[in-house]
């Protein structure tokens, strides 16, 4: 376990020199796109709150922020993938309307999605030319001309592959290049890269950055949505930071440093004075050493009875995957996991449940709740066999247990018989928490338990977690909100690209340190 107690590095060390020398200051030209007062609401949730941002031709502009800060939403909104709730967008001084991707493409704006929107069963050429497959007057597809068209686009980014290859047969990095070639063939003047490096190997990232540098030199505005610090300093001319859907500021990359950006991402107005009291004991409950799964490279940490351990890290760092491994959803390919002194490796959630593990999944709608079923039916689901002699549901027992746990979680529902889909996000989450509280597990893995939950429900959930700890349960909690982790957890494990890179005591750490570990480039083992 080489880097479990990795010493904090200076925030300046990880800054790599820029790949390409920035050209003349692009901001001296006329702006290509100016967005002002941009708002985006999803139901009651505000994703963007009056954001102003300007993009110039020939610049690489990074959009940064923590998970959920709204950076991806802003990128998609500019490219028409999501419509704005309010705000104005000007392209070259003209007020425009971007309601869908077609509008955006007509203006020369396109987006390279994280989940690429390519057609895997069509050829490279067909994918690149998909907007206009008719080459010629006959109405038939002219494959030769289409290939020429595709080769021209591929040539611009220096990708040497046959245009007849099926896109699904290409490695992800090449697929990404095909998506870029398609964007270029549409004469894009502004390309949004939405976390484009997350699925790429280091070599492929280098290649992508080269292409982006080249596009910048050709005068294309490249908007780069990311949360990785090293990429920002390698690539970007300017950086705009968002926090909680609000615009924080724009800096020239050459004139800022990692520490400043981290401060901008976190903000200074966070109240971390509230702490849940600690109930941690010395009795070990879970011991993970060198854990490997298809998604995890090297994870090691312990959890004791009565302890709340937080998992921090960026999206994709492997926080939730630890829960999947513990709960028998992902195979364990290396390392060891001990639960209460016994080596474990479950083949299914059923086995994990029997051994006393509970997993509150990250996405309650797709992984947790049966939306058409009632609140009570959802709550009792995991303990149903225990309260049903000979398979016949004991309705009295079901009602009393569910009502009791509903009181513990302060669940508010008009009736236990209404469909869970009609509840607010907070009460849906409490229903799901109630399901797992009823199982009386020893180890709770809570994957972002306050995601999409209102403030009041958040406080209730914190209280539930504290009560669990008080009763001697071991709790692992994933959260994208650092203040929340600092508030609830005794210790915080920081994950970075499938590895646990730091094990920090709450009393001895702060948000800056955690975020530094989480956003630093991949740590080389000592």
């Amino acid at each position: 376990m080489p880097h479990r107690f990795f010493q904090a590095q200076s925030t300046h060390v990880t800054q790599s020199p820029p790949d390409t020398q920035p050209g003349p200051d692009p901001t001296t030209q006329d702006p290509l796109l100016r967005a002002s007062g941009i708002c985006k609401r999803y139901g009651g949730v505000v994703a963007l709150d009056h954001v102003d941002v300007t993009f110039f031709p020939g610049e690489v502009h990074a959009l940064m922020g923590e998970n959920g800060a709204g950076k991806s939403t802003l990128g998609k909104l500019i490219a028409g993938a999501v419509p704005a709730t309010a705000g104005d967008i000007e392209v070259e001084g003209q007020l425009v309307r971007i309601a869908n991707p077609t509008d955006a493409q007509r203006l020369g704006i396109t987006i390279i999605f994280q989940e690429l929107d390519l057609f895997p069963n069509l050829s490279v050429a067909e994918n690149i030319a998909i907007r206009n497959l008719r080459f010629g007057e006959s109405g038939l597809v002219r494959y030769k001309r289409m290939d020429e068209f595709a080769l021209k686009a591929l040539g611009r980014i220096g990708l040497d592959i046959s245009p007849r290859t099926l896109v699904g047969d290409l490695p992800v990095a090449h697929q990404q290049m095909v998506a870029i070639a398609r964007a270029l063939s549409m004469d894009a003047r502004l390309i949004v890269f939405d976390e484009s490096t997350s699925a790429l190997t280091d070599d492929a990232v280098d290649r992508l950055f080269e292409v982006i540098g080249q596009l910048r030199d050709e005068g294309v505005a490249c908007v780069f949505v990311t949360h990785k610090m090293d990429e920002v300093f390698r690539l970007a001319d300017r950086v705009t930071v968002l926090r909680d859907g609000r615009y924080v500021g724009t800096k020239r990359a050459a004139e800022t440093d990692m520490a400043e950006l981290v401060r901008m991402m976190i903000g200074h107005d966070v109240d971390t004075s509230k702490h849940s009291p600690s109930h941690a004991t010395e009795q070990p409950m879970l011991r993970i050493a060198g854990l490997q799964t298809p998604a995890l490279k090297d994870v090691s940490f312990d959890v004791h009875r009565g302890e709340v351990v937080g998992l921090a890290g960026l999206v994709g760092a492997g926080r939730g995957e630890i829960g999947r491994a513990l709960f028998g959803l992902d195979p364990i390919t290396g390392g060891s996991v001990e639960l209460a002194g016994r080596q474990i490796g479950f083949g299914s959630p059923r086995q994990a449940m029997r051994a006393g593990v509970a997993l509150l999944p990250r996405d309650r709608k797709t992984e947790g709740l049966m939306m058409q079923m009632s609140v009570r039916e959802n709550t009792s689901l995991a303990v149903l066999p225990r309260i049903s002699p000979a398979g016949w549901i004991g309705r009295g027992e079901e009602a009393s247990r569910c009502d009791a746990v509903g009181q513990t979680t302060r669940l508010k529902a008009a009736s236990p018989h209404i469909a869970v889909s009609s509840l607010s996000g907070g009460n849906q989450q409490k229903t799901l928490l109630g399901r797992w509280l009823l199982t009386d597990a020893d180890l709770f893995f809570l994957d972002d338990p306050t995601r999409g939950v209102d403030i009041g429900a958040k406080e209730d959930i914190y209280k539930i977690i504290e009560e669990l700890a008080q009763r001697g349960k071991a709790i692992i909690m994933v959260s994208s909100e650092l203040p929340e982790l600092i508030r609830c957890c005794d210790r915080i494990i920081v994950m970075n690209e499938g590895r646990s890179v730091a094990d920090l005591k709450r009393s001895e750490t702060n948000q800056e340190e955690i975020l530094t570990y989480a956003t630093a480039g991949p740590v080389v083992s000592a």
Binding site: P361, G368, M370, R435
Partner: protein
């Protein structure tokens, strides 16, 4: 009484189906042709004389006749309701019906075994095919549509191999096992009775047991069912096995009613069965539906077919009308309440 209202309030999704059924029934009585002669009918404890001109539809003889014929579809619809609740489909029920019918017919014709053994073997054959369906679907994780499409084709072929492609005629001289089988199994008491009993059993299974709750949970959200530790694979096997068993029962009933086993039995029956379940408000997306709904769906189709037949509307025209009814029924279920008065609202109960 309060409790009943409460239940009805929770089952608003069936209210519209019930209203359609009642309206259809009344319409049927009104448009039914009248009897040409007065007719005596025994109600068990008394005999009434129905006057000339009394609607044919509204006679005990007619109603029990159509119930008996439709019991076959009804029995299969019970299993199909479970399958569709899990977001699956079973296209093989018509072929299983034929296989069970042939097995039963052959045992009665060619052996001296008591007819009850033939019945048991017929049902057993259906159960085995159902278990095969379930095992393939659960283990191979192939869509149920494809697996049951394959067994639909294969099992019909197998049944025809068994019967040598000829109709298996049951011996019907008095004193033979065939005679006893037809007399007892094809009687209205047994056909209608077995449907009613099975419907009650499956309604209780779905409503009151852990298994029933799990079936709905699995269809509502299969991923979440896995995450909640439900034995999803075993459940799929069980659901398709039960459906095979019920198709076996339907095959035995068909054999008795037709007094033979013939390769035309159960052709396209799966489509009638699916139509009944869908009209009964069970969602093909899974998770929503009930046995009671399917029973109502069966009654709707049954009355509709009967009244069209009584009015001499040809079977081609019947099919066209039936298509309209299915589309209307599903369209009605799409209306998630917005434009309907509260007490008529379809779909799961909201606040």
């Amino acid at each position: 009484m309060n409790k009943l209202l409460q239940v009805l309030a929770q089952r608003r999704d069936l209210t519209l189906t019930l209203i359609v059924l009642v309206a259809l029934f009344i319409t049927a009585v009104i448009i039914s042709p009248g009897q040409r002669f007065p007719k005596e009918e025994s109600l068990g404890f008394m005999t009434v004389t129905l006057p000339k001109g009394w609607p044919i539809f509204l006679t005990l003889e007619n109603l029990t006749d159509i119930l008996r014929t439709n019991a076959i579809i009804g029995v299969m619809a019970l299993g199909m309701t479970l399958v569709i609740l899990t977001a699956g489909i079973d296209l093989s029920v018509g072929s299983i019906l034929l296989l069970a019918s042939v097995v039963t017919g052959l045992v009665i014709r060619d052996t001296n075994a008591p007819w009850i053994a033939a019945v048991a073997l017929g049902i057993f054959a259906g159960t085995v095919v159902g278990a095969l369906n379930g095992a393939l679907i659960a283990k191979l994780k192939v869509q149920p549509f494809i697996i049951t499409l394959a067994t639909m084709i294969g099992i019909r072929g197998l049944a025809k191999m068994f019967s040598n492609n000829k109709t298996v005629l049951l011996p019907n001289e008095e004193g033979t096992q065939g005679y006893a089988f037809i007399e007892i199994v094809a009687s209205k008491w047994v056909t209608i009775g077995s449907f009613v009993v099975l419907a009650a059993v499956f309604a209780l299974l779905l409503w009151g047991t852990v298994f029933g709750r799990y079936v709905r949970a699995l269809g509502d959200n299969a991923k979440a069912a896995d995450y909640a530790g439900l034995p999803t694979q075993r459940m799929l096997v069980a659901v398709y096995t039960l459906t095979g068993m019920l198709a076996g029962v339907a095959g035995v009933l068909s054999c008795a009613l037709d007094e033979n086993a013939d390769s035309t039995q159960g052709v396209a029956a799966e489509l009638d069965v699916i139509a009944v379940v869908v009209i009964g408000g069970t969602s093909l997306a899974g998770g929503r539906g009930s046995i009671l709904g399917s029973v109502l769906g069966l009654l709707i189709i049954m009355i509709l077919k009967n009244i069209l037949g009584l009015n001499n509307i040809g079977s081609n025209e019947q099919q066209v009308i039936m298509a309209g009814v299915i589309i209307l029924a599903v369209a009605a279920q799409m209306i998630q309440g917005s434009s309907l008065p509260a007490w008529l609202r379809i779909g799961p109960l909201k606040n």
